[in-house]
C-alpha cells in the first residue's frame, strides 16, 4: 500500500501529539486538583456550591446563558502599595527611609497619623525594597497587593480567575463573548436575590437599555389568591402585571438566582493574591 499507510501514520502522529498535549497532560496536571487554601488562612477553597445553586448551574446551562456571558475575570498584573503602620523609636530615620525610596516628601508635618500609604502602585520588588528600608530604620510596614486591569477596574472581581474557581462545576462554562457583563464575581457585586429575580424577569427595568432578553418563562403570572404570595416580585409600574395579578418565580428562577449569587471570586489565593481591605464590608 504505497503511501496509504504513511498518510495514516502522519495523521496519527499529528493528532496524537496534540491529544497528549491538550487532553492527556491537562487531565494529569489538573484532573486530580484538590481544594487549595485561602491566602494567609487555613480555610479551604473552593467550597462546593449549595444544592440550590448547583441546580441553578443546570438552569444556566439549559438556557445557554454562556452564549452572552463570560465567567472569567482577567487582570493585566498587580500593583503594590506600601503602608507604614508603625514609626518605631526613631521616626526621623523612618521618614528618611521613606524619603530615600522616593516617597512621601510632601509629608512635612512628620509624624503623621498612621497607617499611611507611603508608596503607591509599584511592582512587588520595589515594594519589598521599601519595606526592607523601613524595617531597617526601625519602622513597620506592610504591602497591599492590588490586581490591575480593565476587568478589575470595572469592579468585575478583585483578582483574575484561576483554575480552582471551577473545581466543582460541571459543565464548566467559561464563555467566549461579552454581550453581557462578566459573571465570575456577580454574587459579590450584586448580592441581592430580589434584584437578580426582577432583572431576570424584566432586565430593562433594572438596567435601562439592556440588550438582555427577558426570561419571563421562568416566572408565573397568576391571579392573586386570598393571601398574596410572599415571593411575588416587586416590579416597577411599567413592567408590572395587570392589577389583581402577581409575578412569582418558579423553582428554576430561584435556582438560577441562587447560582448567580454563588458566583464569587473574592478571596485571595496563592496564584492570585490581593489584599483584602482592612474593613471588609459585608453585603
Amino acid at each position: 500500500m504505497k503511501n496509504g499507510f504513511l498518510v495514516f501514520l502522519i495523521s496519527l502522529v499529528a493528532l496524537g501529539g496534540s491529544w497528549c498535549g491538550f487532553v492527556l497532560a491537562p487531565v494529569s496536571q489538573l484532573g486530580a486538583d484538590k481544594q487549595t487554601t485561602i491566602l494567609n488562612s487555613s480555610d479551604p477553597y473552593p467550597i462546593g456550591r449549595p444544592g440550590e445553586a448547583n441546580q441553578g448551574l443546570q438552569v444556566y446551562r439549559a438556557n445557554g446563558c454562556a452564549a452572552c456571558h463570560t465567567e472569567q475575570v482577567q487582570q493585566s498584573g498587580v500593583a503594590c502599595d506600601v503602608i507604614l503602620t508603625d514609626n518605631g523609636k526613631n521616626p526621623s530615620a523612618v521618614y528618611q527611609a521613606c524619603g530615600a525610596s522616593g516617597m512621601v516628601r510632601e509629608y512635612r508635618a512628620w509624624p503623621v497619623r498612621l497607617p499611611i500609604t507611603v508608596v503607591q502602585g509599584v511592582n512587588k520588588e520595589s515594594a519589598d525594597d521599601a519595606v526592607d528600608k523601613i524595617t531597617t530604620a526601625g519602622g513597620k510596614a506592610e504591602i497591599h497587593i492590588i490586581a490591575t486591569g480593565s476587568d478589575i477596574a470595572r469592579g468585575w472581581g478583585r483578582r483574575h480567575s484561576v483554575a480552582e474557581d471551577y473545581l466543582y462545576d460541571s459543565p464548566v462554562q467559561l464563555g467566549s463573548l461579552r454581550i453581557g457583563q462578566d459573571l465570575a464575581d456577580v454574587g459579590a457585586r450584586l448580592p441581592d436575590a430580589n434584584w437578580q429575580l426582577i432583572h431576570l424577569y424584566a432586565p430593562q427595568s433594572m438596567v435601562p437599555g439592556s440588550a438582555m432578553p427577558p426570561f419571563r418563562y421562568l416566572f408565573q403570572v397568576r391571579k392573586i389568591g386570598p393571601v398574596p404570595s410572599p415571593d411575588a416580585l416587586n416590579l416597577p409600574k411599567e413592567f408590572a402585571p395587570p392589577s389583581g395579578y402577581e409575578v412569582v418565580p418558579t423553582a428554576q428562577a430561584r435556582e438560577l438566582a441562587a447560582y448567580l449569587l454563588s458566583l464569587r471570586a473574592d478571596v485571595p489565593l496563592r496564584d492570585a493574591p490581593f489584599t483584602q481591605p482592612l474593613a471588609v464590608s459585608k453585603p
Binding site: M1, K2, A14, F22, L30, G64, Y166, R216
Partner: protein
C-alpha cells in the same frame, strides 16, 4: 499514470454508484442549512428587539444561537463534507462505491441524529459545551453514522486502482479518521465521565479547534485541490507544495485554540499561541498552491459557477486563517477576546470557506452523479453573489465592530453598556447579512430538492415503463438459452 484502462470502470459508472448516498447526504444537509440560517436570523433579531419571541423558552437566544451554529456545522458542513469526500475518493481512486445501501442508511441516521440533537438543544437539554451541545440522543447516532460513512470511504480508498496518491486523498483520508477520534474523546471526557474543573474547558477548546479548523480545513482543502485544477484546466501547482501544506497544517493547527488569558496553567495558552503563529507556514503554502494553480487559467473560468464558489472558499480560508492568527497573537488577543471578532472568524471559516467550497463541489458533482441537470441551474450564479454579499455583510462589520467593542472593553472609563451599544449598528448590518445568507441557502435548497424530485420522477417513469412494457413472448426461454450458450 500506469492505469490499465481496459479494466477501469467509466467515470459515469463511478458517478452513478454514488447517486443515492449523495442525494441522501445533500438533501438533509440543504434542509439543515436553511433551518440553521432561519434560527440564526431569529437569534440575531433579538439584539435589536430583546422582547422578540421572548415568552417562548424554546426560542430564547441562548438556545437558538447554539442550535443555529450546530445546524450549520453538524447539519450541513459535516454531511456535505462526507458526501464530497466519498465522491472524490471514488473518482480519484477510479473505484465505484459498492453496497450503497449502508451509506444511505448512515446518511439518514446522521440526519435523524441532527434532528434529535437540535430538539435537545431547544428544549434545554444542551450539554453546555460549545460546539458539542448535542445531548446523547443526537451525538450517538451521528457518531455511528460517521463511522459507517468513513468506513465506506476507507473501503473505496483501499480498493483504489492507482496506487500513487493524489494530494486530495491525503487530506480526505486524514479527515475521515479525525472526527471519530476527537468526537469520542470530547464526549467521553466531558459527558460520559466528566473530568474535573477547568480541564473541561481545555478539552472543549481542543475539540472545537480540531473540528472547526482542522477537519473543515482537511475536507475543504482536499476538495479545493481537486476542483481548482480540474475547473481551471491546469495541473495542481504543485503536488509537493500541497503535501507540504498538508503536513504543516495538521502539525500546527491541531495545537491552536486555547485562548491567551484563560484561567489555566500558562504553558497551554503559550503553546497554543506559538502554534497559531506557525500557522502562517501552511497558510502561505495553501495560498501559493491556489494562486499558482489558478493564475494564468483562462479568464472565462470565472463564468463557471463551481469555480467561483471554490475560489472564493480558498480566499476565505486564508482570510479566516489570518484572523485566527490575529486572535492568537498575545499583543492583539486582549482586544479581540470576548468580542464579536471571534464569531466573525468562525462564520468566515464555516460559511465563507467551507460551505462555499461545498456549494461549488455540489453544483459540479450532483448533476453528474444523478445524470440530470439542476432544475434551476441559472440560480447558481445568483446564489453565488447573494452568498458572497451575505458573507461580506456579516463578517466585515462584526470583525470591525469586534475591534471597536474590544477597545471599549479595554478602557475601564467606558461604561460596559457603551461597548454593547457601540455594537448595535454593526449588528444591524450583520443581521442583513444573515438575511442574504438565508436567501442564498434557500436557492441551494430549491436546486437540491428540485434535483431530487426530478430524479424521483425519472425513477417513477422507468418503473412505469417497466411495468407497462409487454413481456416478450418466450423471453424467459431466450435468456435460458443464452445462459446455456455462455456455459458452453
Amino acid at each position: 499514470m500506469s492505469v490499465n484502462n481496459t479494466t477501469n470502470p467509466s467515470t459515469t459508472e463511478i458517478d452513478r454508484s454514488c447517486c443515492v448516498p449523495l442525494l441522501a447526504l445533500f438533501g438533509g444537509a440543504a434542509l439543515w442549512l436553511v433551518v440553521g440560517s432561519v434560527f440564526g436570523l431569529i437569534a440575531s433579531i433579538k439584539f435589536h428587539a430583546p422582547d422578540f419571541l421572548a415568552n417562548c423558552a424554546w426560542l430564547t437566544y441562548g438556545r437558538l444561537q447554539p442550535a443555529a451554529d450546530d445546524a450549520l456545522l453538524y447539519g450541513f458542513c459535516l454531511p456535505a463534507g462526507l458526501g464530497v469526500a466519498l465522491w472524490l475518493l471514488a473518482r480519484i481512486s477510479l473505484t465505484p462505491l459498492r453496497g450503497a445501501i449502508i451509506p444511505v442508511v448512515a446518511a439518514n441516521l446522521w440526519h435523524l441524529g441532527v434532528l434529535a440533537g437540535l430538539i435537545g438543544i431547544v428544549i434545554g437539554d444542551s450539554t453546555g459545551f460549545v460546539w458539542l451541545e448535542f445531548p446523547r440522543g443526537g451525538s450517538v447516532p451521528i457518531f455511528f453514522a460517521y463511522l459507517l460513512l468513513a468506513l465506506w470511504g476507507m473501503m473505496i480508498f483501499a480498493g483504489r486502482r492507482e496506487r500513487a496518491l493524489y494530494p486530495s486523498q491525503w487530506f480526505l483520508v486524514a479527515a475521515l479518521f479525525w472526527f471519530p477520534w476527537i468526537y469520542s474523546t470530547a464526549n467521553l471526557f466531558l459527558l460520559t465521565g466528566p473530568v474535573r474543573g477547568v480541564v473541561q474547558a481545555v478539552i472543549g477548546w481542543w475539540f472545537a479547534n480540531n473540528l472547526l479548523v482542522v477537519w473543515t480545513g482537511l475536507v475543504g482543502l482536499g476538495a479545493a485541490f481537486y476542483f481548482l485544477p480540474k475547473l481551471s484546466g491546469r495541473p495542481l501547482q504543485s503536488h509537493y507544495l500541497a503535501l507540504f501544506a498538508f503536513w504543516t497544517f495538521i502539525l500546527f493547527a491541531t495545537w491552536c485554540g486555547i485562548p491567551s488569558g484563560a484561567p489555566v496553567p500558562a504553558w497551554m495558552p503559550t503553546l497554543s499561541a506559538a502554534a497559531t503563529a506557525l500557522l502562517i507556514v501552511p497558510l502561505l503554502a495553501v495560498g501559493l498552491v491556489g494562486w499558482r494553480t489558478v493564475w494564468g487559467a483562462v479568464r472565462s473560468n470565472w463564468d463557471n459557477g463551481p469555480f467561483c464558489f471554490i475560489g472564493t472558499g480558498l480566499d476565505c480560508f486564508c482570510l479566516a486563517g489570518l484572523m485566527l492568527m490575529a486572535m492568537g497573537c498575545p499583543k492583539i488577543s486582549p482586544v479581540t477576546q470576548f468580542t464579536w471578532f471571534g464569531p466573525a472568524e468562525t462564520q468566515l471559516r464555516l460559511y465563507g470557506f467551507f460551505a462555499m467550497t461545498m456549494f461549488g463541489a455540489a453544483y459540479y458533482l450532483l448533476p453528474r452523479v444523478v445524470g440530470i441537470e439542476f432544475p434551476f441551474s441559472k440560480l447558481m450564479r445568483v446564489h453565488y453573489w447573494i452568498s458572497l454579499a451575505g458573507i461580506a455583510l456579516f463578517v466585515v462589520p462584526l470583525a470591525i465592530g469586534g475591534i471597536v467593542q474590544g477597545l471599549k472593553l479595554q478602557d475601564p472609563n467606558v461604561a460596559f453598556a457603551d461597548s454593547t451599544k457601540a455594537m448595535l449598528p454593526f449588528l444591524r448590518v450583520s443581521t442583513t447579512g444573515l438575511l442574504f445568507i438565508l436567501l442564498g441557502n434557500l436557492l441551494f435548497f430549491v436546486n437540491v430538492i428540485g434535483l431530487t424530485f426530478l430524479w424521483k420522477i425519472t425513477l417513477l417513469k422507468k418503473f412505469l415503463a417497466f411495468v407497462k412494457s409487454p413481456l416478450e413472448p418466450g423471453s424467459a426461454d431466450a435468456s435460458l438459452r443464452h445462459d446455456q450458450e455462455v456455459q458452453a
